[in-house]
Symmetry: C2
Subunit: 144 residues, 2 copies
DNA sequence: AGCCGAATTCGGAAGAATTCCGAAATCGGT
DNA sequence: ACCGATTTCGGAATTCTTCCGAATTCGGCT
């Protein structure tokens, strides 16, 4: 779930490079927000990101968090998913993957690749369409 | 996609029964709203439902549409899905099924059962969890 | 067919998440 | 260090949805 310190620093370094490659400025806000996601369990709302960075960055505004997260999704540094309640979560994992949702708590976690999910994208294509991606969401509840 | 007139009347009859079985009143608003979904392509926003019924029911309010759709989902007469933009669609099909989304237009259609999607729910279960459901969304764009 | 109480609907206000805006601050190339 | 473009800030605006109290409708009963 959580990344180790070394992996986080590695990702920060890559993120720096990515910003430069895209011609974007390396701002404190971008670094802090990206780091908050790497240090989290992986899926946070904008509000949660804002809360996570607030202690060390009390002036970092919520509107900057929103704008920054949007930028980071655009450049492929983060991904974005929408939950059933309509709220958006930002996802530190950008490669294609699927999700597990705890129905009671809303907690989201990543499903690792396995042969439990088999999607034949070729035959799923509607006539005249090209498939871009396919996403699976599995919902469950903790046994009590 | 669209249902024939006979099927729609059959569903309306079942819907009447369901309301009574649940001890709910059979109101004009409920009938009209449920019918609008049966006569549609299958997936509508509350706003679209309101628009669809407006001509014949100019006083049927949007807040009633919202309240009614919520009730109909609760009793299992309709289903509800949330799109990536956070907007909710009401779905005339209540049995488990998957969706295809046209990325450019947002148009949603149902994927029919096929062996192109294989989910092994047993092995997807997180430790200590019981799977309740799994949903697949396939995204594509029309070839130009 | 009319009455009555509970459920439902109405219209508008309120709420919540997100986006937009103009002004101030910051970044990075020179 | 300077300067211009980009980014950030704080608050207002927007959009979708829910909430609220008052009015209406439904359906069981007579
Ligand atoms: Mn690397
Ligand atoms: Mn039937
Ligand atoms: Zn994820
Ligand atoms: Zn559907």
């Amino acid at each position: 779930m959580k990344l180790n310190a070394h992996e986080i620093e590695h990702r920060l370094a890559d993120f720096n490079e990515l910003l430069r490659a895209k011609g974007l400025k390396v701002t404190q806000q971008r670094l802090v927000i990206f780091r908050a996601l790497q240090e989290s369990h992986g899926h946070l709302t904008a509000e949660q990101v804002h809360g996570a960075v607030a202690k060390d960055n009390p002036t970092l505004s919520l509107s900057t968090v929103y704008a920054t997260l949007e930028t980071l999704v655009e450049i492929g540094a983060l991904a974005e998913i929408t939950m059933d309640d309509g709220k958006k979560l930002f996802d530190r994992t950008t490669s294609a993957h699927h999700h597990f949702v705890d129905i009671d708590t809303g907690a989201v976690s990543d499903l690792e690749d396995s042969d439990a999910i088999k999607l034949d994208l070729k035959s799923l294509a509607r006539k005249g369409y090209v498939i871009e991606k396919a996403r699976v969401t599995v919902y469950g509840r903790a046994k009590k």
